[in-house]
């Protein structure tokens, strides 16, 4: 138990260090978003983000899945267990996507204009 906490704390510290190191070189933007693929579903099924957000999909199933834009704007390779796919959404809009292997699996990314970056211009 103690060991788990220590490891978790270490990981958090490490992650914070990376973020701190990386932050100055990146433009100000909304926090990145993650979609988990689990039990043949995208969770959350609908995600709303600011423009400029990178959405990362992580496959936690024992079966490969894909992330494919219904409008053919983005397409992952087959994601095996624990594989990730990231896409940065720069333009506001509603992006529908699905798994091309199991097309009953669908999801939506809603991208809103980034008010903060607009205000700073």
């Amino acid at each position: 138990m103690t060991r788990a906490i220590t490891r978790g704390a270490l990981a958090a510290t490490f992650a914070a260090a990376i973020l701190a190191a990386a932050a100055p070189s990146l433009p100000a933007r909304a926090a990145d978003a993650e979609v988990k693929i689990d039990n043949f579903t995208f969770a959350p099924e609908r995600v709303t983000v600011k423009a400029g957000t990178t959405v990362t999909w992580v496959n936690e199933d024992d079966i490969p899945h894909t992330v494919v834009s219904s409008a053919k704007l983005f397409k992952s390779h087959a994601l095996d267990t624990d594989d990730k796919y990231a896409f940065m959404f720069t333009a506001p809009g509603v992006y529908q996507y699905f798994c091309s292997l199991h097309p009953h699996m669908t999801g939506t990314i809603v991208v809103e204009a980034d008010a903060a970056s607009n205000a700073s211009r």
Partner: protein, 315 residues
């Protein structure tokens, strides 16, 4: 190839019974016959095999998933080898074998190589259709290069053997968001053309990866436009539809059409709706081989009866 008749065999044949009976082994040594949707016991499997059919016997295997290494079965090569061993020890040597897809797990060349090396040990001609796991390589070329020679579109084709017309279909390509398996316009038009002028007394066997009937649409276990192909097959006296994908035996008889799904040689999947998802089902080690297996399909000329005998790796 030489053991198959020409593709344009349109002979009318004799006046055959239009009743289709289908036998399936429930896994406890009892053979069931299902006619008109009513199952009835036929005795022990040994008696049926002792009858030594003089017609056509072929085998179906499915869902080998070479490359899968998760807890549901970390040794899919081993269980495929066992399945091939079982095929080699069949009392009646099958004329050939069909594989209803998901040969590999991730469409890697090494996975196709493993499948080829193990399956070839059966010493049988093998006819394939792809599963969705076989077309994952970026250029979608590996399956076609190995198994799709001479096929149309994304890999569909037909052939004849002992007066039975076989149609291999692809329902895993170009799937649409929110949908299920799909055949598409081009393939359906090809089926219509393939059946044109064919005698309705010709027994038809259709095989494809995803079930061509609505097993459980919630999990995508069906083919959205399969009804159009079944419509084309309506006039035929005997139609047998063989699928894989769902990693369990399931059967339905509707008029002259018998639908049947084969077990996987790799891992079991849950019965429809009994789990949060259709993902690989982890069972106790002793139970695994009772849920994996092969299927024997026996056709006897004149009787127009196809018997399907599912054999688990271990009973």
């Amino acid at each position: 190839m030489s053991e198959f008749d020409d593709n344009d065999d349109r002979s009318t044949g004799v006046n055959r019974r239009k009743v289709l009976e289908c036998m399936t082994w429930a896994g406890t040594g009892v053979l069931w016959t299902i006619a008109g949707g009513v199952p009835r016991s036929m005795g022990l499997i040994g008696e049926a095999l002792a009858a030594e059919p003089s017609g056509l016997t072929f085998l179906q295997i499915s869902d080998s998933h070479m490359g899968f290494d998760k807890p549901a079965n970390p040794n899919v090569k081993g269980t495929l080898e066992e399945a091939i061993g079982k095929i080699r020890s069949q009392p009646v040597k099958p004329a050939f074998m069909i594989h209803t897809g998901d040969i590999t797990h991730l469409s890697k060349p090494s996975e196709f190589d493993d499948a080829e090396r193990i399956i070839s040990q059966a010493g049988l001609d093998v006819r394939y259709v792809p599963g969705e796991h076989d077309i994952l390589d970026p250029d979608v070329t590996l399956y076609r290069e190995r198994y799709g020679r001479g096929s149309k579109g994304s890999g569909w084709y037909s052939f004849d053997a002992n007066g039975v017309h076989f149609i291999g279909l692809v329902n895993v390509a170009n799937l649409k968001a929110g949908g299920q398996g799909s055949l598409g316009e081009e393939q359906i038009a090809w089926v219509a053309d393939d059946l044109k002028g064919r005698s309705t007394s010709t027994p038809i066997v259709v095989f494809a990866h995803i079930p061509l009937w609505a097993v459980y649409p919630t999990w995508g276990w069906g083919t959205e436009d399969s009804g159009r192909v079944l419509e084309l097959l309506k006039g035929f006296g005997s139609v047998t539809v063989l699928n894989g994908h769902i990693h369990q035996v399931m059967q339905k008889v509707e008029g002259n059409v018998t639908f049947h799904t084969a077990r996987s040689t790799a891992f079991p999947q849950p019965a429809p709706g009994t789990a949060p998802s259709p993902g690989p089902m982890k069972v106790e080690d002793e139970k695994l081989r009772t849920l994996l297996g092969i299927a024997d399909v026996i056709f006897k000329p004149g009787q127009q009866r196809l018997a399907i005998i599912d054999q688990p790796l271990k009973s």
